[in-house]
Structures are given as structure tokens and as C-alpha cells.
């Protein structure tokens, strides 16, 4: 296991690259989700205002 983590001495390089790539993937999913939530909230507010007036 530690041999696998060590990556024949290149562990720091390999794992940081993988971490950054996966971080980028997760970040985009999170941002897209947040955008959807905000769009729903905004649309609700907009419709509520339309109905009031």
C-alpha cells in the first residue's frame, strides 16, 4: 500500500496532480448545483413579485 502511495518516489507529483484534477471536477459540479439552486430561488422571487403586482 505504501509502495502504491509512494509511486516509486513520484508520489508528491502524481497525487497532487490527481487531487487538483479531481478538485476541478468536484468544483464544477458544486458550482453548477449552486447555480441551479439560485436560479430556482430567483425565479420564485420573480414570480411572487409578479403575482403581487
Amino acid at each position: 500500500m505504501s509502495e502504491f502511495l509512494d509511486m516509486s518516489g513520484y508520489g508528491a507529483y502524481v497525487w497532487s496532480a490527481y487531487a487538483i484534477a479531481i478538485g476541478g471536477l468536484v468544483l464544477n459540479v458544486w458550482m453548477a448545483r449552486r447555480q441551479q439552486r439560485r436560479a430556482v430561488q430567483e425565479a420564485r422571487r420573480r414570480l411572487a413579485m409578479q403575482e403581487q403586482s
Binding site: F4, Y10, I22, A39, V40, R44, R46, L47
Partner: protein, 248 residues
């Protein structure tokens, strides 16, 4: 007549439903492929004779670079469609491409730097491909900046579409100019753009990763475009219906 199916995508309710239905599937497929690709890249693929285990960075570096260029192409096509035929959904799609494009351009640059240190002995080289990629990053940032700076949505759509098209015309010029510029300097001895051709045992995880990133891009693009479509809608029965169903 075969066109008709395509025109349905111009209708916000249809697009919203379509995106909502398919995005989770695409994301699920992407995650599955990603797990297979990661296993293949980190465990199953044999150790490279020249680069030892450092070469394994290729399995995240190349798909990221590929994704950034694919996003760029999609964005420009969508922007052109939106500008020429005035299809709002196309603008929504173009807008949805930029953030993912910017992140993955940055990821490909950073992973490239990390890979460069053990193999070339330097984090940064003024290689044409690296400089073009940096240009693409600036371009994405400029696109996002322009879009954010113009308040009127319709104007922001069309101004950024013009920028996207101008950028696409410019990318090959940048690439060739840097290529030519670099070729006048000493030939890069450390950079071999074509290494030894890859055996299948090393290539398959890469192909799986590229497939995973493609599905991932489709999922993100649909998710974002869906939110954009909702944001642009000023009312309408379908929006009420959708909002009633949507959990908070």
C-alpha cells in the same frame, strides 16, 4: 425536414425538461467511467520504462486539456449559432461552457507543470502548446469578465458571442506564431511531443478517462444551461409548473 428535431431545443420548456432528464445520467456515466479510468491509470497500467510512475499524471492531464479545447469549440459554435439565428438557448449553452472551460484549462496547465518538474526538470517551458493553453485561459477569463461586466443580458450574450468568434479565429494564429517564434530559439531537447507510441495497456485508461470527461462536460453543460434558461425566463406557465415541483 430532418432538422425539425433540432428546433425543439430552441423551446425553453423542452430544453429544461431534456436537460433535467439527461444531466444526472451523463454525470452518473461519467463517474463510473472515471472510477474505471482511475483504477486503470493508477493501478492496472504498467510502469513506464522512461518516466517510471510520474507518467501516470497523463491520465488527468490529457483529458483536462482535451476538455478545455472541447469546451472552447462548443462555446464558439454555440455563440455563433446564437448570434446568427438569434437562438437564446444557444447563448445559454455558450455561457454555461465558460466556467468549466476556465477551470479545466487551469487544471491542465497546473497538472502539466507538476508533470514537467520530474520529467523535464522545470515547471514551466515556453513551449507552443503551453503558451496556447495559457492564451486559452486568458480568453476564457476575458469572456467571463465581459459577460459579467455587461448588465443587460441580451447585450452580454451577443457581445460575448462576438468575442468567442474572434477568439477562435485567433487561436491558430497564436499557436503558429509561438511555434515559429520558438523554432528560432534552440530546439527544445527535453520536450518530446511524440514519445514512444503508447502500448494498449497504457492507452486504454486514457481513452476511458477521455470518455468520462466528455460525459462529464455534457452533464455540467446541461446542468448550467438549465439554470441559465430558468434565469432568462420571465414567467410563463411552464416555469410555475416546474417551480411547484422543484424542492427547495
Amino acid at each position: 425536414m430532418n432538422w425539425v428535431w433540432f428546433h425543439r431545443f430552441g423551446s425553453p420548456p423542452y430544453f429544461y425538461r431534456f436537460a433535467g432528464r439527461w444531466a444526472p445520467w451523463f454525470l452518473g456515466i461519467a463517474v463510473l467511467l472515471l472510477l474505471v479510468g482511475l483504477y486503470g491509470g493508477l493501478v492496472a497500467a504498467p510502469v513506464d520504462y522512461f518516466q517510471s510512475d510520474a507518467y501516470r499524471i497523463i491520465y488527468v492531464h490529457v483529458p483536462s486539456a482535451y476538455l478545455s479545447l472541447m469546451t472552447y469549440t462548443w462555446m464558439a459554435i454555440a455563440a455563433a449559432v446564437g448570434l446568427i439565428w438569434r437562438i437564446k438557448i444557444a447563448h445559454a449553452v455558450a455561457a454555461s461552457c465558460a466556467p468549466a472551460g476556465a477551470t479545466f484549462t487551469a487544471v491542465s496547465l497546473i497538472t502539466g507543470m507538476i508533470w514537467g518538474q520530474p520529467t523535464w526538470g522545470t515547471y514551466w517551458a515556453w513551449d507552443p502548446r503551453i503558451v496556447s493553453q495559457l492564451f486559452v485561459l486568458f480568453f476564457f477569463l476575458g469572456y467571463i469578465g465581459l459577460r459579467g461586466a455587461i448588465e443587460d443580458r441580451d447585450r452580454a450574450d451577443r457581445a460575448s458571442a462576438v468575442l468567442a468568434i474572434v477568439g477562435v479565429v485567433n487561436v491558430p494564429i497564436v499557436h503558429f506564431s509561438v511555434d515559429w517564434w520558438n523554432s528560432l530559439h534552440q530546439a527544445p531537447t527535453l520536450l518530446r511531443s511524440d514519445g514512444p507510441s503508447m502500448p494498449m495497456s497504457m492507452a486504454w485508461p486514457l481513452l476511458v478517462m477521455i470518455a468520462a470527461y466528455t460525459f462529464y462536460f455534457l452533464a455540467i453543460m446541461l446542468m448550467r444551461a438549465r439554470a441559465e434558461v430558468m434565469r432568462r425566463e420571465r414567467g410563463g406557465a411552464w416555469l410555475r409548473e416546474v417551480l411547484a415541483r422543484e424542492a427547495t
